[in-house]
Amino acid sequence: MNDFSDLEIELEKLRPVQPSENLVTQIERALAEAPGSAATAGVLPRTQRLHWNWVTLGLGVAAAAFLVLARIDSDHSVKQAPATASAPPVSSRTTPEKADQLVVSDLSQVVYNTRNEGLLFADDSAQPVRRVRSQTRETLQWRNPSTGASLRVSYPSEEIELIPISGQ
């Protein structure tokens, strides 16, 4: 028992308004229709939004930037050192010990917002899922140990997780 038991009894005496007779008829009609042509009861069907995969996009941009810079850096070093021009260019790009090269110095991912968007049905499944949207900022940093030059790429990313939930 608690302090509110009398109040709870009073609340239980309140009877919710009954639905109209018409509601059952409308549901019956809607269930009889093909799923694709179901009446939406004035609610427009959820539009399929285009979700950018910011992680992939960001990593792609970062990788492209890195490759461009590495290429410029490599060409520059070849021009400056003709004595080593006979060396295979591949080895000059892949040797991490090479001083005049950008190397990854930092990688961070900060999750600054996570939102639980509730239970839903997955598109092709009756399995209920909870949709959780996480917003993060990822930062990659490269540094040239010899010159001290650095490159930092920071981008927002958004991840949507569909987490299966157990039935009640």
């Binding site: 509110f4 009073e10 919710p16 308004v17 639905p19 549901i27 799923p35 004035g42 909870r130």
Partner: protein, 173 residues
């Protein structure tokens, strides 16, 4: 072939009857739940219809009530998001500055009307927990699942709702 067809017909008939039985048991509570966002019974019925049809096509039982109620909640929120004028009106209503147009309950006397009005003035997050607990007989675990909150939070909101109601009703007692 004929036997198979007959079985199919019987199965459809059983399903047909099942949804009516399930719906008749849940309908008043579902409608009340939808009324948390919709300020008229007609709009709430539209939401309940959409949610139940979507749910029943996938589930064919009401074992997972949490998903059904979560579907109602989701559709109701989508409904008001898509109509900015409606959203503004609902926001005003939620702030307590506007009384509901239609009653949630069938009130028999003045004391029930006072109680009805006090429920209407509750903060929205407390009222939805109260509605699920009292008139839909949800456990706190189910409420937590529908709302995506912890059970402790659900229980706290329920207690806050009762405390607020008691406080609001005191001058009238």
């Amino acid at each position: 072939m004929i036997i198979k067809d007959r079985e199919k017909v019987m199965e459809n008939a059983a399903t047909h009857e099942n949804w009516k039985v399930c719906f008749s048991q849940l309908a008043p509570g579902l409608l009340l739940f939808a009324r948390q966002w919709m300020r008229s019974n007609a709009d709430a019925e539209d939401v309940v219809q959409e949610a139940f049809v979507r749910f029943w096509r996938k589930q064919h039982s009401v074992d997972n009530r949490a998903l059904l109620y979560a579907t109602v909640r989701s559709i109701a929120l989508d409904f008001i998001r898509r109509d900015s004028r409606r959203a503004r009106r609902e926001a005003n209503a939620f702030s307590g500055s506007e009384q509901s147009v239609e009653p949630y309950f069938e009130v028999d006397d003045e004391s029930q009307q006072v109680l009805h009005d006090a429920i209407d003035r509750l903060p929205h997050e407390q009222r939805e927990v109260l509605v699920m607990k009292i008139w839909n007989e949800f456990t706190f675990a189910e409420i937590a699942n529908v709302l995506g909150i912890s059970q402790n939070t659900a229980a706290s909101r329920y207690r806050y709702a009762l405390a607020a109601l008691k406080r609001n009703l005191l001058p009238h007692e």
